[in-house]
Symmetry: C2
Subunit: 309 residues, 2 copies
């Protein structure tokens, strides 16, 4: 199975309001709730691609119960979340019907105790034993040490499990130093990591910092990959309009599934770029438009060069 | 015991953010959760005044479980909420730390089925048997007929239980026609009911429409009462600055407690006005500053005239 880790799981709530005005009172016309956090989105896409996926991370409180109830209804996804005393955070996306724009309110997440963090690390090492690959995704909840991902990367490597890291800021900087097999930063995360706003230079620099391979997601410009086997750029044929939330998570799912299926890099990148573009057409993160994905897959342009042996 | 009815209970969530900007992403720095809905706030104030209170209405889902857990920790409040399949609504107050202003997002509430509405009516009639007074508070959730309060008013009168109605719009209009003992509209609700923005005229008009007594809450100007026994105005000594949410619910608690203690109208009004003002000093609805309440109680000016016998 593929293992995805979401230390800061969420209950993603979407509200529709006629028009959001600060300091006014609003009647919410529509409420939707779903399990959230990058690793859960990645798991949903992997399961839709036919992979067996196990999700771990933390969950707690009334919000955590809702997340688990909803996860239990997803075929192909096994819940191995570790309980904590604090409550799983909510994220609230307020969609303004007048403009279509979204205002986001993100709770910080539960404070994880040292004992809970230790319990997670044990559970994680047990799960690695049957994992073909692992993705470490998203922000750290309060209480989890900032070097957490570095430790989880090292444990995966010690277990011989390929590890992808998708986070940001100091957690990414420290995690990269532990030499993950792959990172998937977006343009901002890559610039923050390397200090360079020039993607070609920055992906190379991120490799020097410890990442074996770097696939940067550059929005509508597609993906830019720097790997030991070569460098490539994967560009979808058209700019799609829709909801970009979760496009990066779909790219992670594409890269991971390509890795465990041992696809050549150009095929992995084409799949990741097509999934990412097709998820822009889906209303929520963790889903993609299957028709668009299949149609786009053959039309993603992958250009690049193989490294001389 | 005193019975309070909250058909559309809520989980009131307060978020603090640095500054709310539409279409931006916000990190919530502080999250608080508490049971909400007007009747639950009234119950908390009544319990703090030493009365035995039973709360009923609807509750459901994960949010309803949190409401019930928190209610069970309140001394003096008995939970007689009726379960529904839908989920208790959330209300989200986003406090902008830069300005102190609040932006409110209110979910609509669960859709109540006809069978659930029937179950509630039976439970309500059973509870009336041991009630000394009943307050019907707040908005109606989807599925409950707009004439609901009229039926609940008639049932209370048939049981010989004094009934206070605190709602708005068409639910208030229909409820008033069923001749409740007391209504407590604010200025806007009173104007919507009567078409008059002149409070003296409007309170008299609301009596003609069916309310035996009318106590209008006029914000910092205090309370205006039109009753069969006379007319009064109760004015707090100073304008207090703070959070006006829940001030009307505290006034309802003051009026109800004065009713069951058979206080003369001027004393009931002084209590209601002092509680209302003292709740402005408390950070959340359903609470009041006890020191301020006791100090204000003797300083509320009650002026008016008794109706000639």
């Amino acid at each position: 199975m593929i293992l995805t880790v979401t230390l800061n799981t969420a209950l993603d709530i979407t509200y529709r309001v006629r028009a959001l005005r600060p300091h006014a009172s609003h009647r919410v016309s529509e409420v939707t709730e779903r399990p959230g956090g990058k690793g859960l989105n990645v798991a949903r896409v992997l399961a839709a691609l036919g992979h067996e996926v196990t999700v771990t991370g933390f969950t707690g409180g009334a919000t955590g119960r809702v997340v688990r109830e909803q996860l239990s209804a997803l075929p192909g996804v096994v819940d191995a979340l570790v309980p904590v005393t604090g409550a799983t955070r909510r994220t609230i996306a307020v969609v303004d019907e007048a403009t279509g724009d979204t205002t986001q309110l993100n709770e910080p997440g539960p404070t994880v105790t040292p004992a809970e963090w230790s319990a997670f690390q044990e559970a994680y090492e047990d799960l690695l034993a049957s994992a073909s690959a692992v993705a470490l995704c998203g922000s750290l909840p309060p209480g989890v040490p900032v070097g957490a991902y570095a430790g989880l990367v090292r444990a995966a490597k010690a277990a011989g499990v390929p590890v992808l890291l998708d986070t940001s800021g100091e957690a990414l900087r420290r995690g990269v130093a532990a030499r993950p097999d792959l990172i998937k930063p977006n343009a901002d995360e890559l610039a923050e990591l390397t200090g360079s706003h020039e993607p070609l230079r920055a992906t190379q620099d991120a490799r020097r910092r410890g990442a074996r391979a770097v696939v940067a997601s550059l929005g509508t410009e597609g993906l830019l990959a720097a790997t030991p086997e070569g460098r490539w750029r994967a560009t979808p044929p058209t700019r799609l309009h829709g909801n970009p939330t979760g496009a990066g998570d779909s790219a992670v799912a594409g890269l991971l599934s390509g890795l465990v299926e041992r696809l050549p890099w150009p095929d992995r990148l084409a799949r990741a770029a097509a999934l990412s573009a097709a998820s822009v057409l889906a209303p929520v993160a963790g889903e993609f438009d299957r028709g668009a994905y299949e149609e786009l897959l053959g039309r993603v342009a992958v250009t690049g060069e193989v490294t001389a042996a």
